[in-house]
Amino acid sequence: MSGTQQAKGGLPQEKLTTIQVAVIISNFMLGSGILSLPRVSAEKVGTPDAWISVLLGGLVAIVAGVIMALLSQAYPGQTFYEYSRKIVGSWLGHLLGPVMILYFAATAAFQVRSLFEVSGFILLEGTPQWAITSVFLWVGLYLMLGGLGAIARLFELILPLTIFIYLLVTLMGFTIFDLDNLRPLLGQGIWPVLKGVQTTSLAFTGFEVIILLTAYMKNPNKNIKAVTAGIAIPLVIYIVTVFMVIGALSVDGTLTKNWPTLDMARSFELSGLIFERFEFLLLIIWIMQIFSSFTTAFYFSALGISQLYKRKMKTCLYGLLPFVYIFVAVPRKLDDVFTLGDWIGKVALYLFGVIPIVLLIVTKWRSSKHANQT
């Protein structure tokens, strides 16, 4: 049969299909970005062309993803935590691993915090943070204890639902859509668009898990396909989002909202249906997406601890939980949350934009040297 074995840490270990890896990447990327990306990109670009910037950002992400996929192919069966030390030596490797663990832990905490901010703002005014957060963390832990196979399967259930509802709701925004809000196309030239690419490509962080996921793939050689498909899905969704939101709310309207996508969904009403307002549909899938982003980040943070410090995976999952819980409460106000998001983005830029290229070059150089010797 499918051959589920119990690994040393007690979690079931399964090999993932190419589609599953693409789905995990997509789900990880689609997170808090859905609601805030129109504002973030409009802030940087300043013109209605933000969606072009998103497109370019996505392409940059695909390039970076392919580089990481290539890097992982050179070390079959190993995660980045394991092979990074082989490339850069144990001293630098001891630095790189923990930074990545911290990065994933911070991402997990950031996702939970934005969940709290949004749901506390709209769904649950007055419910204390500890209640909202801890319930969320426990459900996530239950899933993660099922191993990567269970995570992948749940994501496969979530993703089609997300795409369907999300496109339904955003496309309903056509009732208030005004093409004039998006004109003129490239009115101020290409420069503002390029200026935004750095920011928009950060909206695509999440594809970096390919350097960890490749080790668990049935066909590791197909990881380039997986990462490309995994980025393509959010790319389409993000372009549609920015296009529709700016088209509906205009650039100025977008800039004043914290979560402009939500505001767009609130600002149209279709009468004659059971629900006249659709932001709650959007929120439902958004919670699911935050959940998937959180579990992925948390799982890979724990995986890092488990692999670097040779601890059982179960212990790491339980042990990391209180730290993330405290981390969630660190930012004091909403602005701090956004600042935290910016910081995570900057770290991601170096960690996954620059370092993999260097590592890939080192790997290729070494292997060619090795080939020359023999």
Binding site: M1, G3, I132, V139, L143, L154, L157, R277, F291
Partner: protein, 484 residues
């Protein structure tokens, strides 16, 4: 002929042994035209007396033994005209066989005891299964007799690939159990796994196939059934043809089918018997009903108590107007009605058939109406509760229906604690559980997850038969093509 071996002394010994078995009878007689004594021993009610009278007693008593000497071979090979006989030597062996319905024949001077298979064919006739009624489809259902059930399976068509492994379960009361599968289709690893789990069962007495189900399932803590049960031979055959394995136990009309996935529990044989468009629509409707059965009361609670702003204004006003006199919170109100309807359902099941429906009407209509009149619950809630239970009736598998009925109560509590957020988290928790759950190595959520696009032809939709040329791959069948 020594005294010890004489039939009189053996019968004496046996009589001593069967003192506490009041239903075991002994009849002594003499072989035809000789004075050689013989005796038969049988269990009252288990043995077909007519057969014994005709094929044993009459044959032995009327045959004239003058041409050939009395011997075991003569009796067994020439005189006993029954299809199955066994030979034993000890009295213990004989007694245990007699208690399962064999008739023992002892002849003076012959040490071996011959056991004759002549069971009384007392079993319920083959009727339409009550728990799985169909509008279209065979009316035959299994009964309590394993050989009838096996025959029903065999009669589904000439098929030499249908294999039946015979096992026995039960430590004190041994019962026959058959593992059925199609050779050349079912994955040998799956058959081996089922066999291994069944062979591991240690239980005094397996009264019903439910015992077997609970002892071999993957996760006994899960609220979802991981093995399907059915009374329908056609359903079993269809499952075997897909490469699944069936387990039949003596004494129960319910056969088990493994492995099972969540989507299979929402399928009905009728989906295939009707034309594909009707089958598809009915199936989608059932999926929809299952989701409704789980989440409608929870959604009601979360909208009423947390997010009235999300429903259209006019609707809110009318709901609130009807709730004005209700003294309870929406959770308590919903709990009262949901529990009342569950009790009504249970009561309706236990009542004699003519009263059952009447009870449902009295309970459902009158109590509901009276509760609204008395101002205990709001009329909207009565609609919600009625909708929920109708939806849960539409689940074709009783055991799957029970799971959904149970699971909607935690959903209501989640809704009362966290509103829509709680309901979404509860859905995620259920999703996480389904993703973790496996049935004999097959992910419970498949074919939805992991994606098997080839199998979506038979998931939410039921594609035209001419398009379904392959068996579901999730069972790793040996031969994946349906038609050649």
């Amino acid at each position: 002929m020594n005294r010890e071996n004489s039939i009189e002394s053996r019968i004496e010994a046996i009589r001593e042994q069967i003192k506490e078995y009041g239903d075991v009878n002994i009849r002594k007689f003499e072989l035809g035209q000789t004075a050689v004594k013989a005796a038969i021993m049988y269990c009252d009610g288990l043995t077909d007396r007519e057969q014994i009278d005709f094929h044993v007693l009459k044959a032995l008593m009327s045959y004239s033994f003058d041409q050939r000497p009395i011997s075991k071979e003569l009796i067994q090979n020439t005189l006993l005209s029954t299809s199955e006989i066994i030979e034993v030597e000890t009295q213990e062996e004989m007694l245990s066989k007699v208690l399962t319905g064999f008739t023992a024949l002892m002849v003076d001077g012959i040490n071996e005891i011959t056991l004759i298979h002549a069971l009384a064919g007392k079993s319920r006739s083959i009727e339409e299964p009550i728990s799985e009624a169909l509008v279209r489809g065979p009316r035959a259902g299994f009964n309590e007799n394993i050989s009838d059930n096996i025959a029903l399976l065999r009669k589904q068509g000439e098929n030499k690939d249908l294999c039946l492994l015979k096992l026995q379960v039960g430590e004190r009361a041994k019962k026959d159990l058959y593992i059925a599968y199609m050779k050349g289709i079912a994955n040998p690893a799956l058959v081996e796994e089922v066999h291994r789990r069944v062979a591991k069962i240690r239980i005094d007495n397996a009264l019903e196939s439910g015992y077997i189900e609970q002892l071999i399932e993957d996760n006994y803590l899960s609220p979802f059934p991981q093995i399907q049960n059915t009374e329908r031979p056609d359903r079993v055959t269809a499952a075997l043809m897909e490469g699944k394995v069936a387990i039949l136990l003596d004494g129960t009309p319910f056969a088990l089918i493994a492995p099972v996935t969540f989507s299979m529990l929402l399928q009905s044989p009728e989906d295939y018997y009707e034309r594909w468009l009707a089958g598809t629509l009915l199936r989608i409707m059932r999926f929809f009903a299952a989701i409704m059965a789980l989440f409608v009361p929870a959604t009601y609670i979360s909208f009423i108590s947390f997010h009235p702003g999300l429903i259209p204004t006019k609707l809110v006003i009318s709901i609130i107007a009807t709730r004005v006199g209700v003294p309870f919170s929406s959770l308590l109100e919903a709990l009262i009605m949901e529990i009342a309807i569950e009790i009504l359902r249970e009561a309706g099941l236990r009542l004699p058939k003519p009263i059952g429906p009447a009870m449902g009407i009295v309970g459902g209509l009158i109590i509901g109406e009276a509760a609204v009149q008395a101002g205990i619950v709001s009329p909207i809630l009565v609609i919600v509760v009625a909708l929920t239970s109708i939806c849960s009736f539409s689940i074709p598998q009783y055991s799957a229906g029970i799971s959904l009925r149970m699971l909607r109560f935690p959903a209501m509590f989640c809704a009362a604690a966290f509103g829509m957020y709680g309901v979404v988290l509860y859905a995620l928790l259920l999703g996480a559980h389904i993703s973790r759950l496996q049935s004999f190595g097959v992910p419970y959520a498949s074919p939805a997850a992991p994606y098997r696009l080839g199998e979506w032809k038979d998931f939410l939709m039921r594609a035209p038969l001419r398009m379904m040329k392959r068996r579901p791959k999730l069972l790793y069948p040996q031969d994946s093509t349906r038609k050649r």
